[in-house]
């Protein structure tokens, strides 16, 4: 059976490596992109089975990219997991958990993301 392809989009390359290692160790094929526009272009080139998406990024932030994907018939059923460090710690900010839900992301994981939590959340979309 072909491996599931997960695209990780985050402007922190160290975080991308960390998440990629977590998922690759569990048998996923992982693509990497380092900002919202690059992520968007990567999705056009190859459709992921799931998207792990940072919120605060240059060029296009994660909320905007997620909202655009969900508004597009061709991509709306790609599961999106939003990663953010801010949602839990700061109750009132430009980026909040409520905003995340409003953009119809499928799941939200606060940073720093634990390997087991991430893998369990990813796997929950495929079982």
């Amino acid at each position: 059976m072909a491996r599931r392809y997960v695209l990780v989009v985050d402007d922190d390359p160290d975080l991308v490596e960390t998440v990629a290692l977590m998922l690759e160790s569990k048998g996923y094929e992982v693509g990497k992109a380092y900002d919202g526009v690059e992520g968007e272009e990567s999705i056009k080139r190859r459709r992921p089975d799931l998207l792990v998406l940072d919120v605060m990024m240059p060029r296009k932030h994660g909320y905007k990219l997620c909202a655009e994907l969900k508004a597009n018939k061709a991509t709306r059923d790609i599961p999106v997991i939003l990663l953010t460090a801010v949602g839990d710690a700061v109750p009132s900010t430009t980026y909040t958990h409520a905003d995340g839900k409003a953009t119809e992301a499928d799941e939200y994981i606060p940073k720093p993301v634990d390997a087991k939590t991430l893998v369990q959340t990813v796997e929950s979309f495929f079982t």
């Binding site: 922190d12 390359p13 490596e17 980026y95």
Partner: protein
């Protein structure tokens, strides 16, 4: 030869570098450098420190936002008031490429690009994914041009393409839209790597290419490079400190002697490296100070240190690893899996 394909190239123009030479005072890095800056809420974008190389191969260098360079320089508590040990370089930029995957052919390519560009390199640091170079502003174009000769980047076909488009990209303005100050800093975890040697040497500009060639040779042996920093040293030289597996020690010594004859190379065995990474480390102040203070309070000697991107890499004696990781795990918050 086919270019090595990388994930990205980033530029931060608008930095200042502060260099403190010969700062080998044991257990005082927090007192002299990181503590005063954290007290003033100054974010250190890049920090490098070498203390294992003997008096001539010791120093600390850091990069901050350009507007803070002078004030940052005045905050450092230079021992004995020896202000001639302090240098401010007000017009520097950082050029970052990633991911390096610890591949020595990539490190070698970066050094060769710098050497071919004939620029004055002001520093280097690595994170688990990224190589960061500190350069004078005026050298950036030449270096980027050479980097495109060695590497391929996904968004840009040529150096000219990058030069033309980079400044028009929507880049972060630096405006903070949200900030948070945790009582206990959250990190992803502490990763250890043991059985390493720490190599220190002074490299003069004409020899930078030879060090790059040496790195390329190490790559042919299948070696990896988990840690590297470089900072301004005596004269026009750069103090390099990097870690390689102990089992490769003889090969490393032989290759360095062949490529850099006459260089005084120091090897310190039985060391290990610790890596910490956390959200928004690059945008917040006080993280490095928390780590340095924790290690110094646990009596752990910091042999070398690099803070770059969102990660901190620190080299310590292998025998100190258990105590150091224990101290870090109580000083920082590491997430646990949900039930």
């Amino acid at each position: 030869m086919a270019k090595i394909r990388l994930g990205g190239l980033k530029l931060w123009d608008g930095a200042a570098q502060v260099v403190l030479s010969s700062a080998c005072e044991t257990h005082r890095l927090a007192e002299i450098v990181s503590g005063p800056l954290a007290a003033e809420k100054i974010n250190i974008a890049l920090l490098t420190h070498v203390a294992a190389g003997g008096e001539s191969l010791c120093g600390t260098a850091l990069c901050v936002t350009r507007a803070l360079g002078a004030s940052c320089s005045s905050l450092l508590r230079v021992p004995g008031g020896e202000l001639d040990r302090l240098r401010l370089q007000p017009d520097v930029s950082t050029v970052s490429i990633f991911p390096h995957d610890q591949r020595l052919e990539i490190f070698g390519g970066v050094l060769l690009a710098m050497a071919e560009a004939g620029v004055e390199v002001r520093g280097l640091a690595t994170s688990p994914s990224t190589i960061v170079s500190v350069l004078p502003d005026r050298a950036v174009s030449r270096v980027v041009d050479r980097l495109f000769g060695c590497f391929a980047f996904p968004d840009f076909d040529t150096a000219a393409d990058w030069q033309g488009r980079w400044r028009r990209l929507e880049r972060p303005s630096g405006e903070i839209v949200a900030s948070y100050e945790e009582k206990v800093i959250r990190i992803y975890g502490v990763v250890e790597e043991a059985d390493l040697d720490l190599w220190s040497l002074l490299v003069l500009p004409p020899s930078l290419g030879e060090l790059g060639a040496a790195m390329a040779m190490f790559a042919r042996f299948g070696l990896k490079l988990p840690f590297l920093v470089a900072l301004p040293g005596p004269g026009e030289g750069l103090i390099f400190a990097f870690c390689m597996a102990t089992v490769a020690g003889e090969e490393v010594e032989r290759v360095l002697a062949a490529h850099l004859p006459g260089s005084s190379v120091r090897r310190r065995s039985r060391v290990g490296a610790l890596f910490l990474h956390g959200p928004h480390f690059g945008d917040r102040y006080g993280i490095a100070n928390a780590l340095i203070g924790t290690l110094e309070q646990s009596d752990t000697e910091i042999l070398a240190l690099g803070c770059a991107v969102s990660s901190i890499s620190v080299v310590i004696n292998a025998e100190d690893i258990p105590a150091a990781t224990g101290a870090l795990e109580t000083a920082f918050s590491i997430p646990r899996a949900r039930d």
